[in-house]
Symmetry: D2
Subunit: 384 residues, 4 copies
């Protein structure tokens, strides 16, 4: 199949941060081309965005329903292969469901849906249709996160005992919703869902810990806060977590940690070793040992694992950043999709991207941690 | 009073880590001289230690009771002014009580006592006798910890919202009690008390957060673990903490965090700014702001507060370490003691050392966090 | 002009590192599309690369001469707008000259040419033809490098006194030419030119210092080494540099600094302040002041300069890396080219990319520093 | 010999930085006691300092000549064992010569003397008298510097190729001599000697490189600057250095590097590995390897060398700082001196302190680097 994979986009109009990021990420490796989109619920904004992206006017749609309808009618050599949905949380479920029903593969920004119930339905739909589904938990795309997971699953650290994962941000430290479009929907329960901070970034932290350790969280004991007056959703919180196999975790997420940018960090300690990774310096993975010096593992050196090297593009010392991590999700998804379109079995490394299962886990985490504030029970279960 | 302050020591014989540290710390500024000691419960070991410290044989005692008895009988120009007690936790209470009763001022290693009940009695005795009492929460002695406290109390960060304090160590990651004397008593409930990790280092973390923020913890929700098989005390734990005024904290302490050395770290976020300090790079204090670059505040630059400069000895860029922090406790204590011996009121900066109140807080923390494992209640109170 | 800018490529076939980087960089912002190429001097390799890039076979050429000839004959709505030349150094001059003569704009990897004489001719040709010319000194594309330059030119640091620029790498620490294609041509005088290390990375360091400070180096006193036996070009060297206005610099570059990856770093000190930037943690710029804490300036925060923000894509805390820096060169070049193609004057920020003047400076630096080894004179001039 | 070693001090009166440092360092380990001093050329100041140090008035002298005369007349059980000379550079030679002649061992602050000629004479006197001589190149006292030296001499890095040593400070960035006593004598050729920056800190950098690598510098090509108007000595400079065996070095020292504190740093690269050490984070030594992750070697872990552990006092993770490094010099010197006084051969680890040979090397470095500004020759020899 000697052509690029064709992507349509829902959302990502003027003022969207994440839409542009998705486009760069999809574009970066030259495997995907944007062929159509409905970038805004306001047709004129959608048109203007489409034009700035050099799309033909007839492939820029006034509504996502129209787009899914019309694209489905195009011949196979022309219509989009998958749709990337980058709208606020309350507009995830409906277009994703319809896209799957119309036969499109789907890439979806996290958290998966507005509610856990929706997430379960969507996951069932993914299974039913057999389409590929990408949930963009970006941080799992970093080469050193792959390396971390490889090391843990390989047993280098021994049985996992202790997990610390934290995600402090500061940008919502005051009442900025009126002036910041990105803030506005995130603090609005009608668009964001039951959780604010925990939905926006807590889910990333939760996912990262499960991805790296391969362990499922089983119980949670937490507390959420809303520090900014009149805000309707949590802007901070922390939880103790019990994992299967006896490991214990602490998860901390905050959007009022003044002056912090995007400081996702994880530490894992096992019986034989420990590791540490920080998103803001993502090409470094620290490994700690009981009886020899800590090691500074760095992206794409000769000594890293195959899966880590596979998710790198440039020689060691040439920093790979957030967009490259994001692009890894799209590239792996596109590689798997290409195989599927060619009737082949995708390689295991191509299937290494977050999907519906991770999405349901994230929604369950959100609903559960929100519940911790409304009950006297110390521990709430995170499993079915 | 043109002489050095005279110190006696109980504990600190062969194989003791903390005894030698106390001696260096007391010695460092040339304000205190060691004049007598009972360094071990084994007289021959005590004698050998005394000799290596160039003490006259008659001032090296076979038991601490003998020492306190005999020193009290010496003329004022000769007998020790205060005693430094550096024994394991179960031998804190009795010698401290007797020393106070005999008219000596007391320096005591933390945690204060074996039980909260003892701590309360000891605090009452301190109050009753009017003697000076130093509890060596070393980490409050660092210049940048003083600076952090100054900044918070000065309101630079605004009202405190969020506190993260963590203390990962790795040295007890396996069953080392048989071969490591330092480990042996710390994991033995008969010598250490109700808590292992939480008594040894959790108390430091707890104290540091209260010291820097000036806030009292009011409720705690935690869980302790014992990861190493057959160990009798906790070697790891974490807690959510509520502070007065609405601030929220997370406290994490572990002695099984493989490869970590002594990684005490605190972050505090207020309505207007945040700060971050790490014990392993103690001369740096990071201040974070919402709308301007983070600042790297460094020990003893011209711009630091008076109280911070007062606790420094060398120009900026000449690292001050753990022993200097420890020495600050002794120097401040000695300065206050000198004033007292001269019949003067100690200056406020001389009284800046942890004392009985902090000791009782620490013991209450230990007893409470141990209780969190034995109850279904989510939140336990940390106040009277 | 509602279409993407059309790029052709010379070089960048199998095993090329920098060719793929150029393609990603050009592709990243969706402003440029690759339309043709001659990727290898071996036609079958060129074809295979073209196919993997989804190019139509008729736009994949067997030689660069053929490509330039045939593209020039295509109608304006179809032919490439510019050519990107990513071959080893000895194949820079001829295709660049011909491309300009054929009316194409040119992007060229550094160093500009094989010799200073060629560089001067090429610069004259650029001037004569009036075409846009991009020389990919990647490191000037980083947002924090832009910020650094802005701060210096703005006078924040005062008059510049002292510059330290260093570029240690370790990958050529042993005789790896036989097994590493990237190494092979770089250590071959017939393909690399007069210098090895200094041509490959010394020029980047030299360029970065001139870019950030806005100062021209006037004299150089240096020494080159070849540490690896039987190597024919320098693999290490250092120089003292005199800049106009009295500033003094040290330049260090090495490819035998074992274990170093790509550690370009610059420090500039003026009469009022200093700055520090490291390529391996590129989103941080440290500013130092005499009487207040050092500041940690970070990419794309609200407080950074306009030119720095213009060269960023994602919010603060989402690391931008090497590819984004590279993409900035292409995006700015493409923006300027679009303006030119539309008959408009490019905006100043679009013209912020290295060009022929920087290329000639770099070649002069190479020829001069190589000469320092062959003369007794202490200082050699770096100006006409 | 069951007593402390007895120290006298010349210099170190009010306003002296380094005098207090020497006293703390000598005092820290409880092996040395200060017994007498002449702390200032002004008798009343000397008396006041002596009193604040709890010295008996009869052991506080009005002139250093008087002190050396009178101490020499005291009985052996009472008189000082050695004298510590902490005066400005122009008052090093005479008291050191006289002290040796009077039979005292000597500790002397660096640089050794005012001129190379004096240094040679003093070294000859040391040899002639057979007394112990300590030159306080403090930075060689750090445990991780010991470890670095051990690793290089042990061959872990292979044959040394490249050395970078740098020492940027910022405190003399402007004309502060009038208000800063420490600055005043350092920038005064009558008290400091031929060099300013290079004498004060360049010598430390030079010494550190020779100490760690065990290599002697043979030739130097440098340039000094005086950036601050009307200053009479250099405040900045850099040099290329050739070492025996073919290694090459760069030495950079500056006191106008605004905002830098005391940023001594060294990197050494050999054929098999590299190392990096920074004084401002002194408990970390980075080791770099070609084919495996860099290692973070940390003070006093179980894996460090014996000589490094011998120069540590507290467990890993308890930072040892500048004063501890300084104290190591005194402790080693005192240990060697005790052996000597007891008629024993000092252990090799006790003789690990800088002495007269290092002092002469330092003075030769100063005289040579100053000469580089006054000659057209590119390379000046650094050997006899």
């Amino acid at each position: 199949m000697n052509r690029k994979i064709r992507m349509g986009m829902i959302g990502g109009g003027p003022g969207s941060f994440i839409g542009a990021v998705h486009r760069i990420a999809a574009n970066l490796d030259g495997q995907i081309e944007l062929v159509c989109g409905c970038f805004s619920s306001k047709p004129e904004k959608s048109r203007a965005t489409g034009e700035s992206l050099f799309l033909p006017p007839e492939r820029v749609y006034a509504s996502w329903e129209e787009m899914l309808e019309k694209e489905a009618l195009l011949p196979e050599g022309e219509r989009m292969d998958f749709v990337s949905i980058v709208t606020p949380n309350h507009v995830h479920f409906a277009p994703a469901m319809m896209a799957l029903d119309k036969g499109f593969h789907v890439a979806l920004d996290k958290p998966m849906t507005f509610s856990l119930e929706e997430a379960k339905q969507l996951a069932a739909k993914v299974k039913e249709t057999g389409k590929l589904f990408l949930l963009t938990h970006t941080y799992t795309g970093y080469p050193m996160v792959k390396e971390a997971r490889h090391r843990v699953l390989n047993g280098d650290l021994g049985k996992v005992r202790r997990i610390y994962v934290e995600y402090p941000q500061g940008w919502l430290y005051n009442d900025c919703a009126a002036t910041n479009k990105q803030a506005a929907w995130r603090v609005d329960p009608n668009r964001s869902g039951k959780a604010g901070c925990m939905g926006d970034i807590g889910t990333h932290a939760f996912n990262l810990a499960e991805y790296i350790t391969g362990l499922k969280a089983t119980e949670i004991c937490g507390e959420l806060q809303t520090f900014v007056p009149d805000r309707l959703l949590d802007d901070d919180g922390a939880a103790l977590i019990r994992y299967e196999g006896g490991a214990r975790g602490v998860l901390m997420a905050s959007q009022i940690a003044v002056g912090c940018e995007n400081s996702l960090k994880i530490r894992v300690f096992g019986e034989k070793g420990g590791l540490e990774w920080r998103q803001e310096e993502p090409n470094t993975l620290i490994l700690r040992w009981p009886d020899r010096p800590a090691e500074i593992v760095r992206t794409n050196n000769g000594y890293v694992s195959g899966i880590s090297a596979y998710n790198s593009r440039v020689p060691a010392g040439h920093p790979e950043g957030y967009l490259e991590a994001f692009a890894n999700l799209y590239r792996n998804f596109a590689t798997a999709l290409r195989a599927k379109l060619e009737g082949k079995e995708p390689a295991p490394e191509a299937l290494d991207f977050p999907s519906a299962e991770e999405g349901v886990r994230g929604m369950r985490f959100i609903e559960t941690i929100v519940s911790t504030n409304n009950t006297d029970a110390k521990w709430l279960k995170l499993v079915e």
